[in-house]
């Protein structure tokens, strides 16, 4: 499949969304340096093709559960960029009222269930969402994202077993960026063929070039069809790479600069935009127009966050429990 086999608007949407993620995160990184954003900040830069390719293949009412590196997934699920930025600023206009920060973006309206900062913690949750869907006779599917590091956790194995055993509509999206923080896959898992692990649970599995948005999109569409047809869960391994540090505190002692540069040469945005240009779907002015449009959206989001308000301290204990009307 090539970009030209998609409608032109869709082909350009994939590019635009990758650029939106990239620019949002580049600016977030700068704002972290300026102390506007605090706590942990995990950037997705380099991995954009995965979230874009997958989310464009899902329906609006499908559920998505992501990790603490989830700005992209929230954005593409439909959380407004300004609500994401305000959340990172800790403002009550944020998508979690500023209480979660970068790692805990939530949005009930778009069925975005976090924003989970326990590695593999979102997986059992996804299985439960899918179990409810199954018991209610619905046809929505539940996608979860997790890193390859999560596949060393018991939660992964318990979750995929449950999903397979009960043939639940779960799309397992492994973002294999080769390092669990600083620990390389081959240093932490005896079986490095991740699809083999999924296959051990009798789950259909496929490895995909996660730097190629079209490949991601196509593989996901196939997996979604499989799940919607009632054939049970599907596992996709997206081979990708994080260009930036794990978090803002990571000196990256565990990998060579040369390795990073090699992966950057395969960067998803420039390879895809080059492809679009080669196929005549995009020219340089068109690309610059996308950049300008995205930058305007990002700056608007930052202005919104800057102007946001802090939750009153009197509300500190609000929503530990659900407010109940007096009997």
């Amino acid at each position: 499949m090539t970009p030209s086999s998609l409608p032109r608007d869709s082909a350009l949407d994939l590019l635009r969304d990758m650029v939106r993620i990239r620019r949002l995160e580049e600016r977030a990184g700068e704002l972290y340096g300026a102390s506007k954003i605090r706590g942990f900040l995990h950037l997705y830069i380099g991995e954009e093709a995965v979230a874009v390719g997958v989310l464009h293949a899902l329906a609006a009412d499908d559920a998505v559960v992501a990790t603490y590196r989830e700005h992209a997934h929230a954005l593409l699920k439909g959380v407004p960029m300004k609500a994401i930025m305000a959340e990172m600023y800790g403002r009550q206009e944020g998508c979690s009222r500023g209480r979660g920060g970068s790692m805990h973006l939530f949005d009930a309206r778009t069925r975005f269930f976090g924003g989970n900062a326990i590695v593999a913690g979102g997986l059992p949750l996804t299985v439960g969402l899918a179990l409810a869907e199954h018991m209610q006779g619905g046809s929505r599917l539940c996608a979860c994202f997790f890193g390859e590091g999560a596949m060393a956790e018991g939660a992964f194995h318990e979750s995929i077993n449950l999903a397979a055993l009960w043939r639940l509509p779960v799309l397992f999206c492994c973002e294999n960026n080769l390092y669990a923080m600083g620990t390389a896959l081959e240093r932490s898992q005896s079986q490095t063929d991740l699809c083999a692990k999924a296959s051990a649970y009798k789950v259909e599995a496929r490895a995909v070039d996660g730097m190629n948005v079209i490949a991601v999109h196509e593989a996901t569409r196939h997996a979604v069809e499989h799940i919607r047809a009632g054939h049970g869960p599907f596992f996709l391994e997206f081979r990708t790479y994080r260009f930036r540090a794990h978090s803002m505190f990571d000196p990256q002692l565990y990998r060579d600069k040369e390795e990073v540069e090699q992966w950057k040469a395969r960067g998803p945005i420039h390879t895809y935009s080059s492809q679009l240009k080669a196929e005549g779907l995009l020219d340089e002015p068109g690309f610059l127009a996308i950049l300008a449009q995205v930058d305007a959206e990002v700056e608007e989001a930052i202005a919104y966050a800057e102007n946001g308000s802090l939750e009153p301290i009197e509300d500190l204990s609000r929503d530990v429990y659900t407010p109940r009307s007096a009997p």
Partner: protein, 328 residues
């Protein structure tokens, strides 16, 4: 009309009733279906409701508790059975990091209407990995509600209000109580907010819950024989604690003894005594005291297990010490 049933049967009838009343309710856990429940609580429910709603789960506490949370988020009303409290440690992550935290950290967007039931407590010679009382730990966690039914009435009545609660509720069933017989009484009108006075008295307040309620009541009878008239409070709800009922009683009797099968250090008994001192210090005639389990992993042989747990004799002794010099 008296309708005597066991605590186990009361739990079962509560489950049956909830399943009939609300199609969103389902029971999930290890051996809840074909086996009938490790403590036979769900015996016969598979035949009545089928395998979708009486759902046997693999040995995956982390997985199926987490799945219960997800199902609750998506509109179901799951009841999760964990075989015994020690196994709940395998599910601490979803219980604390997700179920308890989700509403607050999502800015109020997601409530988790989940009910988790589990057996707790010692007394059956099941040794150091099946006998602990960790409900006090769970009562430490904001976002959870913790219930400890000590009577057949509460066993019958607590489940439905727990299911109506929009937030996660953990129900701790003391393993020694399953064969307890009693009248479910006015179960349909019970609350899950308040402590209850199980015996009125004027000299000393015995505060307890769950598996030690019976021991406290037996001790109170014995103490009555030596002229000490005990008021016995059944906490019922371990989080949030009903301070008002506790303090009203202690302010009347001026003496408090807490009986808690949990370990002493950093325990629920410590929390209760702190609250009594914080709110009732000047009403007290003696320092509050407590009878807890010995701070050891619960051992297998009967004599050592008995020595490790609060017993009627140790409660009586502690009460008499507390009442020394009392003038009536």
């Amino acid at each position: 009309m008296s309708l005597v049933m066991t605590y186990r049967e009361a739990l079962r009838e509560a489950l049956r009733d909830a399943m009939q009343r609300d199609p969103r309710v389902f029971l999930m856990g290890e051996d809840v279906g074909r086996y009938g429940g490790s403590y036979a609580v769900s015996l016969g429910l598979l035949e009545a409701f089928g395998p979708e709603r009486i759902r046997d789960a693999p040995l995956s506490e982390l997985g199926f508790v987490g799945a219960g949370i997800g199902a609750a988020l998506a509109g179901m009303r799951p009841i999760i059975e964990i075989m015994t409290v020690n196994f709940s440690l395998l599910a601490l992550d979803p219980l604390m990091n997700t179920a308890a935290a989700l509403r607050h950290m999502s800015g109020g967007q997601f409530s988790v209407p989940l009910v988790v039931r589990m057996a707790t407590g010692a007394g059956r010679q099941l040794a150091a990995q099946h006998s602990h009382s960790l409900e006090g730990w769970f009562a430490h966690i904001p976002g959870l509600k913790i219930l400890a039914p000590a009577t057949v009435e509460d066993a019958r009545g607590m489940l439905w209000p727990a299911l109506l609660d929009p937030d996660p509720v953990l129900i701790f069933e003391h393993a020694q109580l399953y064969n307890l017989e009693g009248d479910p009484g006015d179960w349909a009108s019970i609350d899950i907010n308040r402590a209850r006075i199980r015996r009125a008295g004027k000299d000393l307040t015995l505060i307890t819950y769950g598996g030690t309620l019976g021991k406290a009541l037996a001790a109170a009878e014995e103490l009555a024989g030596v002229g000490i008239d005990c008021e016995v409070i059944d906490l019922r709800v371990l989080r949030p604690l009903d301070d008002a009922t506790l303090l009203a009683s202690v302010c009347k009797t001026r003496r408090a003894l807490v009986v808690d099968e949990g370990w002493r250090s950093g325990s629920l008994s410590a929390e209760i005594i702190t609250r009594i001192i914080e709110q009732g210090f000047y009403e007290l005639d003696a320092p509050p005291a407590r009878v807890c389990s010995a701070e050891v992993p619960i051992p297998y042989p009967r004599h050592l297990e008995e020595a490790a747990l609060p017993q009627v004799a140790s409660i009586v002794t502690a009460a008499q010490q507390l009442c020394q010099g009392k003038t009536t």
